[in-house]
Symmetry: D2
């Protein structure tokens, strides 16, 4: 089969042929119908420090956001059948550790990520454990179905636990308008947030426009406004600050603003990843204000998938998610897709199985 393969530890990748995977115990083999590019794929393509530390075996196929059709099935698999249209939950877990047995398997002690620690989905076919297959409505656009995985991250950032304080009628800020930030805005709008206030890193008009279309009441250019961001958001929230602040950028300046704009007793979700340690005044940021902070990684399995399914049942919401997919390219043009993302000219880039 064709696949986008990293043959050695260096930037880029090449399209080549590999043996089609066969099911091992408890697995299905899936024919790709749509995939999409994630920031992680760009890191692997660029071969940045994180990728060099993490990926050791070659050749490897990357990519993990995907929709496909099951074409082969191991005899031990009972809940799926050939022809099912599925998307992939990308956290491959052991199912037996303390975390897996206490309702948080998305942070399994022996976590593997599809397309990072195993062969991924930028290929004609890929293998997947039964547990990781999420059966879709076959009528759902495969491109939209493939972004349910990052959409689940957005839901996780908005509602990290069942016992999360609610969002309805509350003021919320989103710092960073990458695809997951944009999705979070759409989710917040759907959940009845009162004021939705976003900041974007600047030089990214497409994303600022999308943020407004997702439902943000205001989108601030963080680069232009600089330190005014805190004052503007406080003024827009009767001086009290926002009830919930979502840090989606990984920028040290933004994380500080996050804690400055949250109201005492409010909550913060940290999802953006940071290139290096961040210096924080914990007293003022967190302690004197009695703030709660949630670290966000992955998405609860499979609570968030049901939530995403329920939200996508609303045509208004589904349409918005479609808008975030600004480009649909053939798989063979992955380099072009990577460039679009790096030059900040895209929302989400979807790849079609055209080789």
């Amino acid at each position: 089969m064709y696949a986008i393969v990293k043959k050695s530890p260096k930037p880029g990748a090449e399209i080549t042929t590999l043996d089609t995977p066969r099911t091992r115990e408890g697995e299905v083999v899936v024919k790709v119908k749509a995939a999409s590019l994630c920031g992680t794929d760009v890191h692997i393509w660029n071969w940045n420090q994180w990728a060099q530390n993490r990926i050791k075996k070659f050749p490897m196929v990357f990519g993990h956001e995907v929709t496909g059709e099951i074409v082969e099935i191991d005899q031990n698999v009972t809940s799926l059948q050939e022809g099912d249209i599925i998307s992939a939950e990308t956290h491959i877990v052991d199912g037996t550790c303390y975390q897996c047995r206490t309702d948080r398997m998305h942070i399994c002690q022996n976590l593997k990520i599809l397309g990072v620690d195993t062969n991924g989905v930028f290929a004609e076919y890929f293998a997947l454990p039964e547990r990781n297959a999420w059966r879709n409505d076959p009528k759902l656009d495969p491109a939209i179905a493939s972004v349910q995985e990052p959409l689940g991250n957005a839901v996780q950032a908005v509602l990290p636990k069942d016992n999360t304080e609610d969002i309805a009628g509350k003021d919320v800020a989103i710092l960073g308008c990458g695809p997951i930030g944009l999705m979070a805005i759409a989710v917040l709008k759907e959940l009845g947030a009162a004021k939705i206030l976003a900041t974007a890193g600047g030089f990214n008009e497409i994303r600022m426009e999308l943020a407004e279309k997702m439902g943000a009441d205001m989108v601030l250019n963080a680069r232009e406004e600089g330190k005014n961001v805190v004052k503007i958001i406080r003024d827009l929230t009767d001086g009290k600050g926002v009830d919930v602040a979502l840090e989606m950028s990984g920028a040290p300046a933004a994380v500080k603003q996050t804690f400055e704009i949250v109201t005492p007793g409010g909550r913060v979700s940290l999802l953006g990843l940071f290139e290096r340690p961040v210096e924080l005044d914990l007293n003022d940021a967190l302690i004197f204000k009695g703030v709660t902070v949630y670290g966000i990684t992955g998405r609860r399995m499979f609570q968030t998938w049901y939530q995403v399914k329920g939200l996508l049942a609303n045509s208004r919401f589904k349409e918005k998610i479609g808008w975030i997919i600004t480009h649909r390219l053939p798989m063979r043009d992955i380099a072009k897709g990577i460039d679009l993302i790096k030059s900040k000219k895209a929302g989400k880039v979807s790849l079609e199985p055209k080789w």
Copy 2:
């Protein structure tokens, strides 16, 4: 001043004059700009069994849903001033009991209800403790501002606690389409519920139409469908039942359906009041299914008021709440308003201070 007064323990009431109330310690006196009729007012008018047991002192002024302007203020009041446009939280609490001191003052051990246990708002003026005044945006339509109180009940039914399981992407049923049931549908739609399935008692076309306009995906006539209700709702939810069921009718048949349609591990809010004890198979209804049940009365002070304010900031939602107010009558026509409600020809009836 003019007031609608119950002079003795019998049905009806009369419009007469009373001394205008003056502030006692910690109180304000408010000039009525809009009031609205609640089912409780109909009970008091009808002088039903509950009213006979509860109300002992005459003459009494009833009515509690209200918007007005502060015209007099006790010297000990610090957070309000003359000219403020306020609505009334109707639960008058002691502020010192166990419940008041542990974040649930709406179920104070010494609870008094405005217009039930004290003189109410169907008058030109009424007195109110400082704590019970909620300051409105003066631009908000007084009729809509006066129904924030039952709207708070709807929010309380949907989100009984901060730690309530979320609604977004979940399937929800509402049994009973009185004004609070209708408001709950609008709230659920705003919060991103997936399927919103309502039942109405039948013979009430206005409310069934309103339920659809509020956002219900389906409105079943409970009288016509009878026992099919459970099957229909199960079929519409992939056989699993709804995640959340709100009992808003006070009908014994409906409470049984409520427990039949909720999915294992789901939750139920009981808000409708029952005329007599109800027989329940607790094993099947609750225990084997691991269901959580919340008794709903009043609304958390003042968490729900902030949530209502935030929701009303959305013009789409505010417009819907306006639709529920099907009639606006002068205060002197209260008898006509009572009749409209009893003959099921109204959503919510608003009263204007025209005497």
Copy 3:
């Protein structure tokens, strides 16, 4: 192998020989080291209405509370090995339904119970799915290890969800002092409850004595005290009632008391099963008081097992659980054990693999 077998649909059972079970896919075979009698076993022995409705295939082996040693292992089993000493989580689940995929597999839509819907543990050997095996510290007394399953029920009743209001410093009532009620008292004492007030059905001195030894501050004889129970408990809690009430008896009178003694805004767990529907005044019991009710069945998998393990690490607590096991009989004397329970002369009866 020897087994206690119900050969036909009638009361009693007989000791006979059956083929030793062999592992099917994903299973282990376990050699019994200790088992214990549950109320369910008495129902099956007595062949009551519930048993007649539920059990249709014969011959069947019953019993489900157990400790044993793994002696055979299917090749697909990865997390266990021969020689492991395990206890059984008795809820056999499909792992793929909505409930299983949203952190509440103990109420799986396709739930089977070990020893009820499958062959059980009153035998020399039994087969068990990998997921249902809980690995014990091999030094733990097998009799105590076998009652971890009902102890998990007690934990589930005390802490039904992660987001349960806490117990520390709160007043709690337990209505019903069967083995799970007794265990709940011990758990509550361990969790720092302030006042622990128990009621027992009467004619059961052993259990009333055990309730005190578990840590109850007062044990009321429900039969003698009758309607005074409510007044006594109110007086002991400064008139406010208990913060948490656990209904463990299945007696209609007790469930009414449960709702009368709980403070407004408090919570109730219902675990006892009722022989017939119960009539409840929902207004006064639940709604006006804003009470939360949890239906309790089984125990969260495997959150409660970790909690039980952590509690048993405390020697004081482990000793108490040992006291509840009032009798240790050879398996062949099961009839005597059943009689002890029916005549209310036992706490928990443990069975040893002596044939």
Copy 4:
């Protein structure tokens, strides 16, 4: 009256006479029966940077942990009477801001602290708003009653919200064994924590001994063990880390350890205050592990006071809290008490009204 007074902005204080305070509106005047020294009092005595920034008006009386008898009462006070023995909740709040009206008045937007922003309790008499008086059992030792305030902080650190994950059967670490850390250990032991693992800054034998007496399973000398702390705690928790970690030291090294030893999905409470900003690797500390962090300040009003009351009802717990009070001195010997704390030779120092 006699009082310990800071007359000017410099280190130390002097005993002198001041006018006895009289009640203003809504206040009571209290005669001191016992007070205790808090770290904040040492900062004020030492006149450190924080104190210089915060305290501007002189003369000022400091001290805030207290028990006393009400001797004068304003006419507007309704819930208290002369002769009541009370302790002081030290957070003086406005009662009307967003935080006060949404169940978190301990982080009021206009918070004042007794004995910091107002005249305090190291005097013969002090004035207190009605809301801040907590009525004690008159039989409770005044010295113990006066440390209910920091004990509430310990409860708040252990159970920051009603919806906190439970402690029973879980492993917990406490980093820092000052008085609140010690109290937290006693609380955790009372709540059924499985393993309680503490670290102390070293050079403080009294506190390490007290930590063991409070119920710690192990007390590590952080200075001696250095980087081994993380490994030791991981080894003692089956490699998984602790479920809950309480940072009570304010030491940058400890906060890093806190995040290293907490299990994925676990939670952290930050109570210790830091002298300067701390550098944190947010990715590894928080995000990849899906950790929840609670900033802890003050104590929920008055949820924690009820919890403390309930815990002190247990004589075993009350005795332990008594052990923490290692010294009882006359008020006139405050300088000696300050020295005992600075030289790390005391647990808690109680002051008696002897002048």
